[in-house]
Symmetry: C2
Subunit: 248 residues, 2 copies
DNA sequence: ACCATGAGTGGACAACGTACACAGACTTCT
DNA sequence: AGAAGTCTGTGTACGTTGTCCACTCATGGT
């Protein structure tokens, strides 16, 4: 029984039968914290995390322990955001359209895996190393066409805007479903029914009702992420000199 | 000196020299609260409001006074959102493209006036009467073309997604500027300079640096809201039977 | 003259981010 | 081996947030 097993106790007494001090968890580190934060955000439907919950997940009793590694919650959020930026890649060397297509598709993958990323990316300036690398790669593929800097950045922002906008819509749909505990489409349908009936009874908005009561309304739309991305790329292509517009 | 001027005081004593009870503010009402909330959100750069701040703005001493009219903060937020939806209009009777163009442009107007609207519209399902009317009008203009319900709704969602996505980007840019108190472009430039120099010194990301240091980088982009809207409408048009695609 | 109603008050609570002082273990230098 | 310093996690505490609940007080109907 070493002295390390003795813990002071409010009354001034000492516990001798305490198990060995926890220390079960390995050392904290910025990397371990960010990874846990990402996993925690993935577990929450809303993607919102709490310093206290994160500390608990890391097996640490005090939220303040994290502040030795991250400075502030906003700082941590920046790290999480940049980590996801790191999962987005820009294929190099196959032309601007292929590059932006890859940016869009891998971005969409990342956003589907971590919907909260869309919210965070929209609410803080993207200045982490991974985001920087992403922008730089995309801009590099746009360099050869004699466009001015604003226009080049506009290409990237248009694609990323579509990615993040679609991500936010996805996030909102998921949180809406979870808000009342609906997991299947039929649950959702059942819960929405009374509202729809009242609207239908009012008689205004018949076109909306005809959509809301269409059993096919949850089928995939032709305006999929990929399709809209192609439309945007088509539009962007018109800003390039004709000989540089890649074929579809 | 009427009894109404006597106010109990912790010690059990009474103030006699209090002025007449305030009652300077007129009666609360749901409408007055929502209007004040919209104005308050417009005044804050982030668009975030507080029940306490809202109560103060309405000349009311306790935030709880508002709960007699709104149920919860989320409920109030829904009312604010729907109020802004009411400022978006769909021109009727001039074809689907004109209708969606109008939806996009008035939506963009509304979002520029109330950038916080984009955040709220993305974070709660749009089910207020004004939103309902908006969807119904837009869907009505899409009714004559034999599209299925999912596709019709996809048209509207594509346009609204662009509006709200652009709005969020705008909101983020404004909050970023305000976060450190920058009001002019040169302030922003001065504050960003050290970061950029460190990135430039590192030597990676030359294409990003070449954008960040371009004095023209704040000029309006060719990928403006309206231009992207046109590209999206062009894309949507390809889903229609050829004879129904309006000319630009 | 009474009393029910309804508007606004104010104190309290839980959860949040985070500041601060501290305890115990580990490292380093004698 | 012992002392001194450093590094890591703890505990307490504060201010802000949304919201609950018991309360006061002016008003209007009988």
């Amino acid at each position: 029984m070493t002295s390390s097993e003795r813990r002071p106790v409010p009354g001034g007494l000492v516990w001798f039968d305490e198990p060995a001090p926890p220390r079960a968890t390995e050392q904290l580190s910025r990397e371990r914290i960010v990874n846990a934060a990402v996993e925690l955000a993935d577990d929450q439907v809303t993607g919102e995390i709490t310093m206290r919950a994160l500390a608990a997940r890391l097996g640490v009793r005090s939220p303040m322990a994290l502040y030795r590694y991250v400075g502030s919650k906003d700082g941590l959020v920046d790290l999480m955001t940049d980590q996801v930026y790191g999962r987005i890649t820009v294929p190099r060397g196959h032309g601007w359209r292929h590059a932006l297509q890859g940016l869009g598709r891998t971005g969409w993958d990342a956003v589907q895996r971590h919907p909260w990323f869309a919210r965070l990316a929209f609410s803080r300036p993207p200045m982490g190393p991974n985001a920087l690398h992403l922008y730089d790669s995309a801009l590099a593929e746009l360099a050869p066409f004699g466009l001015d800097a604003t226009t080049r950045m506009g290409f990237v922002k248009t694609v990323l805007g579509h990615v993040l906008g679609s991500g936010l819509a996805l996030l909102e749909e998921q949180t809406m479903r979870a808000r009342a505990g609906f997991h299947s489409d039929s649950d959702l349908e059942a819960a929405a029914a009374p509202y729809l009936e009242r609207i239908a009874a009012a008689g205004k908005h018949p076109h909306f009702i005809s959509w809301a009561t269409d059993p096919q309304r949850l089928a995939p739309e032709p305006q999929s992420f990929e399709q809209v991305l192609e439309w945007l790329l088509d539009g962007l292509a018109t800003l390039l000199p004709p000989e540089d517009r890649s074929p579809v």
